[in-house]
Symmetry: C2
């Protein structure tokens, strides 16, 4: 997605340790006009799929998922990190390891919101080692729901999450795949360029 | 907002301890069509205000804020709970106490995303004792930004947050104010009915 790649080049900041900061438009301050373009692009890429629900994970996936959902006319469910007293009854759960926060946490989804009738599109902002996605896929499998695809805004192509997921035969669409970053020059190399 | 009140009556679940569960449409599974109606209503209520940014707090405020922002054509910034290694540089911070999670945490916003030029509308799903809002107001004051108003989806009118904020002279608009709940009968009494 050309518009997104240009935005990453313009406003993304490359930091040491393969960190790509896009917090001025994607995951702290959020450019809603860009999110709408992202929604249109996911709709195009998953055209013809029978999608009944979008699943994402808190926190930074939620805004993107909600804007994207407008193009599919379906509700969004977000997986919650850690137990809340406001979630009652039974939940589907999975453990995931966060690269960003360097810890393991539980993610949960109420059993009331996922069922074998659901055809689910997973939406998230980043894909790196794929731990968060594996957790969401485990939750969908527990629910007996069908995974119709995964839509990612930025994939770190030099980490193995994307390869793992594609090998599983899941339709994974990443709008920008970063194959290399250089913190010294501040440059980003995208796949297929 | 009549549509919202009807939805709360239909799908909200009243539990002991003054808990109103609206997780089937507002803060776990999210009805994006309803969020659009909420966006239209906030636009109507804050018509004429010069708003340059929407501020919310993770996690459940984010989806609503992003859909609402489409009616104001402004970016959304969400306050993050606890420190992340991906936030660098200086941040505005405030401590808030969570009724839901029964603990105190820090909320932070990068200084790059709030400035004295900003005219801010705060959006959140719930208002009860007002602790989260007080934290956001403190952050806006630190930034020198102007608070143009606060838009809340559901206010618990029997807790004192709403009264405190209105006494401060801030334009607070709550789309549904619950004045009483009865867990035994499962009923909700709204203000002005």
């Amino acid at each position: 997605m050309q518009l997104l790649k240009e935005r990453i080049r313009k406003d993304g900041i490359v930091k040491a340790g393969n960190v790509l900061k896009v917090d001025s438009f994607l995951n702290h301050q959020m450019d809603i006009e860009l999110f709408n373009e992202i929604g249109r692009e996911f709709k195009r890429r998953f055209e013809g799929k029978n999608i009944t629900k979008i699943l994402t994970i808190e926190a930074s996936g939620i805004g993107i998922a909600c804007v994207v959902a407008q193009y599919f006319h379906v509700p969004v469910v977000f997986a919650k990190k850690a137990q809340s007293i406001n979630i009652d009854g039974e939940v589907y759960s999975s453990k995931i390891e966060s690269f960003t926060h360097k810890r393991v946490y539980d993610v949960i989804v109420s059993k009331r919101f996922l069922s074998p009738e659901d055809h689910v599109l997973i939406i998230d902002d980043f894909l790196a080692n794929g731990c968060a996605l594996m957790g969401l896929l485990e939750i969908l499998e527990s629910a007996g729901a069908k995974t119709e695809g995964i839509g990612i805004v930025i994939e770190k192509g030099f980490q193995d999450g994307g390869e793992k997921i594609r090998k599983m035969g899941i339709a994974l669409e990443s709008l920008a795949i970063v194959d290399a970053m250089d913190a010294e020059t501040g440059t980003v190399k995208f796949r297929d360029e």
